[in-house]
């Protein structure tokens, strides 16, 4: 019994750390290879407080968590700020992990490499389990909140995330801090369970275990790392003799999973009715292995190796299959029942919330935490007497190549302007310069009266310029609804604590509002029926529309569309033209459109500018452009003349 307790407690402790790493690596997409260091910080801080200063467990754990967060911020700020690609970042975390171990080994306070023995055993199966449940609940809430969505967006596509106004650094640091806090909690509990810690415990091996748990469990999921970490703790216990081979297995598993099933066990999905049988299968395999192992050990001396093995294998297999069927049966049983249960729960919960309305709503309103209301579709408050966007002498070069050469362009409010030109003429570069993705070499871009030079892309986006990309950049593992909802993050005003506990009186009304607004936007592009579909599974034309809906979520004054009709057949192009026209009529949005489909451009745009070799060679109405010999020459490559029409 004590043995089972030990396995259980250890699992719970490591699962807490794994949940933290799942948030950082699994969702934000950054690889922390030294995460055990944060566990070490939490462990040592809490242990020192209880051992030397006789603090009770709870405050010690909390201070340990805070210490881990602070260390993570100190380390994270320079490394995240440098916007390192994943390799560099991973190496930096490796270095940090090692460095911390050295510091711990040499600090008097931590008693160096000898470690701290004799810590009080304040952590046991019950409170560890409680902390684990709490940790999972908080993670789950966090991921469903605005903060969580922003972090998931960064993990999916940092460029697109910036283009909807999500600043990378603060959000990545939030993700790191949160994950470090959980690791610190895990470390503190570990220290008070095994009662003796030394720096060698928090080694690369431990970091590898956590990483393997997240990767094999599946990135973008909490269920996956939970299951995988549990397995990684439990299974080796069943095969005590395997001890060192356990880690060999971890390593091999990582290789196998990356090559065969990079998604892992539960990649980008959480536990639901359809994958419940999978969970039972995994549990069944584990139980089967356990039973098989004990049967083998019990009977092998009497019956010999081969028959015992056969019996063990049969029993193990039988248990596995039985569990699998049990899982399927349960899923089928729950299918009609679950919606009813869920509805009942929600009714009850709403009732309680309403009871509290009288108390909490005035209080939260008074505290200024109430929703201030969605800015809503603004009337275009831009001045109509000067251009909305004014580009003068814009220049950009890459290496020796001049991509944009002294381009001037004025776009007036409410216009739809086309930007056309042969391949490589600099059109997308103009967009990238305007939205702040590339720094400008020389020239000015003035938007709504203010110069854009030097502003980071997120400021420009939040200032009213929104864009789509030539190669669609959606958050493909998120649902259609969430893609749009993430872009509405500026309208979300509840705080971090409220997000952690999903405070019903601030979070729920705000989330409802965001959902309604997101559905409205989906309605504009005709995608409401697809709200719960995973964005990556949508057909190409609909993905385009989703990208436009997401761009609209930011209430832009200016919308930049980069080849929206790319890859579309004539029918889809027509739909797109209609859509853009509808949006324009409703909102009087100003639009600049890069396109190669001439039918789209000529039909939609009131003015067209033509670029060639980075220079603007013509500007005018569609008719003027179509008959401009310079334009024809640029496209077709030959001098053209017109015959007088008889």
């Amino acid at each position: 019994m004590a043995y089972a307790q030990a396995i259980f407690t250890n699992s719970a402790i490591y699962i807490i750390a794994a949940m933290g790493l799942a948030i950082f690596t699994g969702y934000t997409g950054l690889f922390s290879l030294g995460h055990a260091a944060f566990m070490a910080v939490g462990a040592y801080t809490a242990a020192i407080l209880t051992y030397f200063y006789h603090w009770p467990l709870l405050p010690a754990l909390l201070v340990g968590m805070i210490a881990a967060v602070l260390v993570s911020l100190v380390v994270g700020y320079p490394t995240l700020r440098a916007k390192l690609r994943s390799d560099y970042f991973a190496i930096a975390t490796l270095g940090f992990g090692e460095a911390l171990k050295v510091i711990l080994e040499n600090l008097d306070l931590t008693q160096g490499a000898r470690g701290l023995p004799g810590i009080q055993k304040l952590a046991g199966p019950v409170n560890t389990a409680a902390w684990m449940v709490l940790a999972i609940w908080v993670c789950w809430n966090f991921l469903r909140s605005t903060y969580g969505r922003k972090i998931i967006a960064i993990g999916q596509d940092p460029v697109a995330a910036e283009m909807i106004g999500i600043r990378l650094l603060p959000n990545q640091m939030l993700s790191l801090g949160f994950s470090a806090a959980l690791a610190g909690l895990s470390g503190g509990l570990l220290a008070h369970y095994i009662t003796f810690i030394q720096p060698a415990i928090f080694s690369m091996d431990l970091s590898s275990l956590l990483t393997a748990g997240v990767v094999c469990g599946g990135m973008g999921s909490l269920t996956g790392p939970f299951v995988a970490t549990a397995l990684f703790v439990v299974v080796p216990e069943l095969f005590r003799g395997l001890a060192l081979w356990r880690l060999v297995l971890y390593g091999v598993l990582l290789v196998v999973i990356m090559n065969l099933r990079p998604k892992g066990l539960y990649g980008h999905e959480e536990l639901n009715l359809s994958n419940l049988p999978k969970l039972f299968l995994i549990a069944g395999l584990t139980v089967g292995l356990t039973i098989g192992a004990s049967v083998y050990n019990a009977y092998a001396p009497e019956w010999g190796g081969a028959p015992s093995l056969l019996l063990a294998a049969l029993l193990g297999l039988g248990v596995t299959v039985a569990m699998n069927y049990a899982g399927r049966g349960l899923a089928r049983l729950l299918q009609p029942v679950l919606p009813i249960l869920s509805a009942t729960w929600h009714r009850g919960f709403n009732h309680i919330v309403r009871l509290g309305d009288g108390v909490f709503v005035p209080w939260t309103r008074a505290a200024g935490a109430a929703a201030t209301g969605d800015p809503g579709p603004q009337a275009n408050t831009v001045a109509a007497d000067k251009p909305l966007l004014s580009i003068r002498g814009l220049r950009k070069h890459f290496g020796g190549v001049i991509a944009v050469d002294s381009v001037d362009l004025d776009v007036w409010p409410g216009q739809i302007v086309g930007l056309i030109g042969p391949n490589g003429s600099g059109k997308t570069t103009v967009f990238n310069l305007t939205s702040g993705v590339y720094p400008i070499d020389s020239g000015t871009v003035t938007f709504d009266g203010r110069a854009l030079a030097g502003q980071p892309p997120t400021s420009i986006v939040l200032g009213g310029i929104s864009r789509t990309f030539q190669n669609i950049r959606l958050f493909s593992s998120m649902t259609v609804l969430d893609n749009v909802r993430t872009a509405l993050h500026t309208a979300s005003d509840y705080g971090l604590f409220a997000a952690f506990v999903q405070w019903p009186w601030t979070v729920r009304p705000t989330e409802e509002r965001l959902r309604t607004r997101a559905m409205e936007l989906l309605g504009v592009v005709g995608l409401e029926a697809y709200a719960d579909r995973v964005a990556g599974t949508l057909p190409y034309g609909l993905q385009r529309k989703l990208e436009i809906a997401r761009a609209l979520a930011l209430h832009p004054k200016l919308l930049l569309l980069d080849e929206p009709a790319a890859g579309m057949n004539p029918q889809e192009s027509l739909d797109l033209v209609e859509l853009i026209r509808r949006i324009h009529e409703r909102t009087q949005l100003t639009v600049i459109l890069i396109e190669h489909h001439m039918d789209v451009v000529m039909n939609l745009c009131e003015r067209i500018a033509v670029l060639n070799f980075g220079k603007k060679i013509a500007e005018g109405t569609p008719d003027e452009i179509q008959s401009n010999p310079l334009v024809l020459e640029a496209y077709l490559g030959q001098k053209v003349e017109y015959a007088p029409q008889g």
Partner: protein, 296 residues
Amino acid sequence: MILQTIITGLSIGSIYALMAVGYSLVFSVLNFSNFAHGAIITLGAYIAWAIMVQFLRLPFLPALLLSILGAGILAFLNERIAYSTLRRRRAPSLYLMISAMGVAIALQNLLYATIGAKLYALPPVFAQDAFEVGGATISRMDLFAFVFSVVAIGLLHFGLMYTKVGTAIRAASHDMEMVSVLGVNLDVLVAVLFLIAGGLGGMAGVFMGVKYMVYPSMGWITNKAYIGAVIGGLGSLPGAIVGGMLLGLLEALVSVTTIGSVQLSTYRDVFSFGILAILLIVRPTGLFGRLVEEKL
């Protein structure tokens, strides 16, 4: 005193440089961090141990050459098993990195599980006498290692510059796809790449084993090599050499410095990480690294 420090620094620095070059070579072509490089280095040392001590009693030079060959072959097999499928599928470099980590963990612990954690010493190669130069001493082994490393890297340079395969490798570091379109068999090219990287790693492992000891977690020394490669600029071979040497020199300097009563040498590893962190803030591409701009 300063001369001794420099010599110490260069001797360990040349080993770091060897490690960093193998690592950077793979990075420059395949654009991912081969975290399994450390394991190959360790295995190189173990092969030497097996040949010199455990199973045969061969002298140093044949053992060294066999270790180089063995490590190269192991690196080649590593690529085949853990990376080639991902490479053909054009998987993101993150997957390759994780797969590499898996190999590193598996191999290191395989050593623990089979041979055990015991530290082994390789028999002394040269007589223990050393040279005296201007008040400082250089051991024969260190000199040998330094010269051998220089020659090896020189041969690598020659191969890269003047052979067809070498030119193809240099081209592949810029545009691997285009190289295949010109008729180069990428499978063969990558195999050669890993043979070379592994060979260099094996060499470094043997020198490490002779200089210090042979034990399963030797591979983590390669963290220093990674740091050296990053300092020099990932993907740049001169950068790897300079970065490795520089790190060696800096470490040697730190080891002999005492600030107040604090002997900095115990914090050597912290120092290495600190250098890395500062460099990454100031110049993320390293000293010679390329800035690869993502096409938007």
